[in-house]
Amino acid sequence: MTDGIDIVRDHARSALRASVSAAGRAKAWIAVSVLVVLVALLVALTTSQRPQAVTVFTLAGGTEAWQLPPMQVPTLAAGWVMTVLFAASAAWTCVRVLRHRPVGRLPLAAVIASGVVAFLVAAGAGQTIPVVGLLSGTLLLSVPLVFGGLSGLLAEKSGVINIAIEGQLLAGAFSAAVATSLTGNVFVGLAAAAAAGVLTGVILASFSIDYLVNQIVVGVVINVLISGVTTFVYNQVLVPDGAVWNTPERLPDLSIPVLSDIPVIGPVLFDQSLIVYAMYLAVAVIAVALTRTSWGLRVRAVGEHPLAADTMGINVTRVRWRNVLLSGLLAGFGGAFFTIGSVGAFTQDMTAGQGYIALAALIFGRWKPLGVLSAALLFAFANSIQQTLSTLGLTAVPQQLLLTIPYVVTVIAVCGFAGKVTPPAAVGDSYGKGI
């Protein structure tokens, strides 16, 4: 008897909870409808293929010792299998979300992976899709996002918003190109990029920490300032006399023995330039340092509750200064990738908003180093797919529409991670005695 009452009451409570989180439900329904549209698109795309069509995936990068042979799959059969898998895993996830049950990472990964593979199989009918190129493109495109995201992470964990990442990346790209061109030494270029980032960090720190100016205003001003200065110098000096100022060497690719010979993984992860290895190191070091060292504990304390940290004898101002400078160093260093890490020469405003995307990766990555890495990789993968597809001829669906699909997948991923996202509590708050 009492059990029955309890059950009724529990149902009433859960119905109530469902009704009160109307906003969450609306978001879930948007995700559901987007998924339905996606399934429909995939079905349409798959059905339109000829029965004999074959999709080829090449799995070899060309430099590794053991090369995998290309994989041929029958487009129609594989397309249908993956589409059904996608529809099923998506439906399961939707039901979980609508019932307010937690959705693990694995199911979400399954949704994304099956969706992407289904799409690639169908879209690549009669074509060859270079898997290694796709993945190493992802890694390279993620480099500025990861450095930018980690830069934002270090600043925000200590309670300072760093909107200036965009400008710091640009300053790093510019300094690396010029310093490398002048000295002919890429390491001088890397050092110059880091120094430029630190310099902008000094501006951000002194205004926002010492003079309590609004952090976002200072950050935006820095972005405008750096864009203006680099554009001016670029037009006045780099363009007229490019041979001296803007012909940097590029960082050489260093292939790591043995590891780089592993099929697929080797050429993607272990045949890269120094800056990419630095990125691995930065993610690992920051992940450990933030959670396992007294430095990390103090940084997090300052970002959460500066007054409490102060009463425990921690110098809030010093912690914030140090982190903002480190933040600038990382962003500047990452900015070097735009020039000496990839295309070489500097061009006007070449960062093209990557600093802001890095901030999105920081938020999507929930202010955690590995989260930032995953988010950056996801954004970069979306970009890489787009670039790969633009080399394939497609007729079934308008190209422009197809190109949006990676972004749509990203949006769904963001919706799926519907859990509470909490930034450091004191982020953006100035701190000083008597405030």
Partner: protein, 508 residues
């Protein structure tokens, strides 16, 4: 360890917060510092703790002059502080909070969590209480969080412990437990400084009572002093601590009926869970409870400041649940919010403008978009006279006044209309004794005028002073409705969620 304050003076701008204060803090003694809000108690303690530096005067530790430039310096000399607003990081565990600033490290220079846990357990067990070192602070009850604060100080081997209004956030039972802990600490030879304006507690635990008024030490009160003697010393004149009121005229005709009200808090969780209750005209209902048990959300929903998830509220028969604030006020509801600076007044507006904020469409003060300046001025002058608002004039900025005078502005505005329901949330929080007397008298007068009055208060003294009946809230639900004669310890147990009948049994 003995601390001697010698003529310590501190000014903030024109305000002298501490005026040549001299005190002695002895080991093994509980020294209560009694004073009203704004008397300068907290400033004094922040000076001892190194958060502020004195402008003049000396601090001597064991007869040796010291200068504390930072809390760290004070901590290193064995001074610990338990702040009124806990200095804990909610997303950290107990162990992380305790080790912060003085972290044990492994040989690899990483944080030694195992050592930190052992330390927390060792310190807390030595003083007879249990703490789970791995619990997240945000998930602990307030009383336990306070113990984390105490352990934080003890873990650094503090010899002097300063408690700044430690009971403000505790239930009466938790207060008793705290007092037991304080006794034990002082028995171990620690010097305890206990800052409070609550006379009952001070009488209960003090080994020595120093009274501070307007930044000066008025003197030491004898230990046997009665509450009214202490109050007189604290305020500087004799004050009546209790209000005399006639029995309530309970009138069903003007009543507010709440049924099945459910409200969601800012964090998305259910804050008010299916509450049904009626408030009758001519009766004061006091809602007691530890802060954060849904009282705030409840009254905010009643006045329309917070969306109602389900349920109904009728004022004199008219449904108001889910209506706009403007419509609810028009139905005869008056509201004194708990945070008057944030929600009660606009500090940068004049007194006269604050007084008409709710009557800016139609009525005597406006027509169209034009304000009638003469009428507003007249209204301001009348209210200043009637409510004894101490201000240079109606054009003085509300933000420049003392808390008591700001609260009088809010009262003057809300009581200017005939009310069916009058809700006052923490009406006397942070006010001086004189203003408390005045505010209480006005609240009783409003009841006698026939309004249903609802008081939300975390101060049991206030609840007992005003209530015709007491409602206790716990975790968004009403634990019970009891008469004002109910003993303090019963209410205390109810505030911890124990139903009335059971509470009466176990309080005996």
């Amino acid at each position: 360890m003995r601390i001697l304050l010698d003529e310590v003076t501190k000014t903030f701008g024109d305000v002298v917060a501490n005026d040549h204060i001299s005190l002695t803090i002895n080991p093994g003694e509980i020294h209560c510092i009694l004073g009203e809000n704004g008397a300068g108690k907290s400033t004094l303690m922040n000076i001892i703790y190194g958060l502020h530096q004195p402008d003049a005067g000396r601090i001597l530790v064991d007869d040796e002059p010291v200068v504390f430039e930072s809390p760290r310096a004070a901590m290193e000399r064995g001074i610990g502080m338990v702040h009124q607003h806990f200095m804990l990081i909610p997303v950290f565990t107990v162990a992380e909070n305790v080790m912060l600033g003085d972290e044990p490290k492994t040989s690899a220079r990483l944080l030694d969590y195992a050592a930190a846990r052992r330390h927390v357990v060792a310190v807390s067990e030595r003083f007879g209480f249990q703490l789970d070192p791995d619990a997240l602070v945000s998930e602990l009850p307030v009383g336990v969080q306070q113990r984390v604060e105490i352990v934080k100080a003890l873990a650094r081997d503090a010899q002097v412990l300063i408690f700044d209004e430690p009971t403000a956030v505790l239930t009466p039972q938790e207060t008793d437990e705290l007092i037991a802990i304080l006794r034990q600490l002082s028995a171990e030879g620690k010097a305890i400084v206990f800052i409070s304006h609550k006379l009952r507690e001070v009488r209960a635990i003090a080994d020595r009572i120093s009274v501070i008024r307007h930044g000066r030490v008025v003197g030491e009160a004898p230990l046997g002093s009665t509450e009214s003697e202490l109050a007189a010393m604290m305020v500087g004149r004799s004050v009546s601590l209790t209000i005399t009121k006639s029995p309530p005229r309970r009138d069903w005709r003007s009543s507010t009926v709440v049924s099945g009200l459910t409200v969601v808090g800012s964090d998305g969780a259910v804050a008010v869970d299916d509450i049904s209750i009626a408030f009758r005209g001519g009766e004061i209902t006091a809602i007691a409870g530890v802060e954060g048990n849904g009282q705030t959300e409840f009254v905010e929903a009643l006045v329309g400041l917070r969306p109602v998830s389900s349920g109904s509220v009728t004022v004199d028969g008219a449904e108001v649940a889910g209506k706009a604030v403007k419509d609810i006020l028009a139905a005869g509801v008056g509201f004194v919010p708990e945070d008057r600076k944030a929600n009660g007044i606009i500090g940068s507006f004049t007194i006269e403008h604050n007084l008409v904020l709710d009557r800016l469409s139609g009525g005597p003060f406006t027509s169209g978009i034009a304000m009638h300046r003469a009428a507003i001025r007249e209204n301001g002058e009348a209210a200043i006279a009637e409510f004894d608002i101490r201000a240079p004039g109606p054009t003085a900025l509300a933000g420049t006044l003392s808390g008591g005078n700001q609260q009088k502005i809010v009262l003057a505005r809300e009581l200017a209309r005939p009310l069916a329901l009058f809700i006052a949330s923490q009406p006397t929080r942070g006010l001086d004794v004189g203003s408390i007397e005045f505010v209480h008298a006005r609240i009783v007068a409003e009841r006698d005028a026939g309004a249903a009055v609802v008081i939300v208060s975390t101060e049991l003294d206030e609840v007992y002073n005003l209530a015709d009946r007491i409602v206790v809230m716990y975790r968004g639900e009403i634990v019970g409705v009891v008469p004002p004669e109910t003993p303090r310890d019963v209410i205390g147990l109810m505030m911890a969620g124990i139903p009335a009948a059971e509470a009466v049994g176990s309080a005996r």
